[in-house]
Symmetry: C2
Subunit: 180 residues, 2 copies
């Protein structure tokens, strides 16, 4: 059975909506995801970079993120034909461990917790596919990287790209037809 590794933030967890919401609230702004196209909040407001990153040290920040549209349905389907692992770069925000774990248990109860991986450098991951919004993780990844579109990566080229989870479903339907 082939294995798909799947990132969390901006792939199955809607990180940007929450991040913008707390930033807008505290800085009396009205930024939307559209403003983040081709950039990141910390690059758009460099004068608040420390504060923008500090939100992520709140142990509860990651606990109530929305689930990305269609991710539960499509991953549930994929789990019947592939081994699914969740691989998240949690070491960047060690206070997020518990919240990320609880979030996964709540929203993806069909994925065994033994298949959760909290890591930093994802070159440690052995999988056939990696679905991630950060192209840097594909550099030393041995399998097929699949770039999940996010505002910050819109200008990245040279990768297999999917816009949403329905496109992930279609990608694996094709790869199923094409594989022997």
């Amino acid at each position: 059975m082939k294995r798909i590794a799947i990132d969390m933030d901006e792939v199955i967890a809607d990180f940007n909506t929450k991040h913008l919401s707390v930033f807008n609230r505290d800085y009396k702004e009205n930024l939307t995801v559209r403003d983040l196209m081709g950039t990141r909040l910390r690059e758009l407001r460099p004068q608040w970079k420390q504060e923008i990153l500090a939100y992520l040290n709140d142990p509860l920040f990651f606990r109530d993120l929305d689930v990305m549209k269609d991710s539960q349905t499509v991953i549930k389907e994929l789990s019947e034909r592939y081994e699914i692992f969740i691989t998240t770069a949690a070491m960047e925000f060690p206070s997020s461990f518990a919240a990320k774990y609880e979030w996964l248990k709540e929203h993806f109860p069909f994925i065994p917790e033994m298949n959760f991986v909290f890591c930093g450098d994802k070159s440690i991951i052995r999988a056939d596919y990696l679905i991630d919004d950060n192209a840097r993780h594909f550099q030393r990844f041995n399998g097929q990287g699949i770039l999940f579109s996010a505002p910050h990566n819109l200008n990245e080229t040279g990768y297999v790209r999917v816009e949403n989870w329905l496109e992930v479903r279609a990608y694996f339907q094709r790869s199923c037809i094409n594989s022997p």
Copy 2:
């Protein structure tokens, strides 16, 4: 640069001494590591299995474990010739995340935190070597498993085995000489 993945409990962190100490204190016993040869505390005292495992849910249990003899020196040396990753099956005890992270930062400050991996099923690990006291992790591991001797694994056969960190050093000195 080849990569060595290293487990925590009973490999770099002295799990048994602490576990026996809290058990002996609470149950008025005088068990020693010698009593665990070929077994585990929960098998030796099956009537207290739930309680024995429950100690590990204490968020601080893993924070003050002793460091295994010579592990710091030898891993520091190895880190000059190999990529070192710490790969621990933390998903079995999710309340241990923070303590394990802080313990690693304190005792192995020379290992980048991006090289810490908290996982469950270690078949997700891509490395050339895995040093672990649980032989089950070698079943689906693609590289060379190295069984670190621990009381519970003394009767396991069929694996490369090391008794302590000086033997790990010697193993990699040999593999260095033998590699092209």
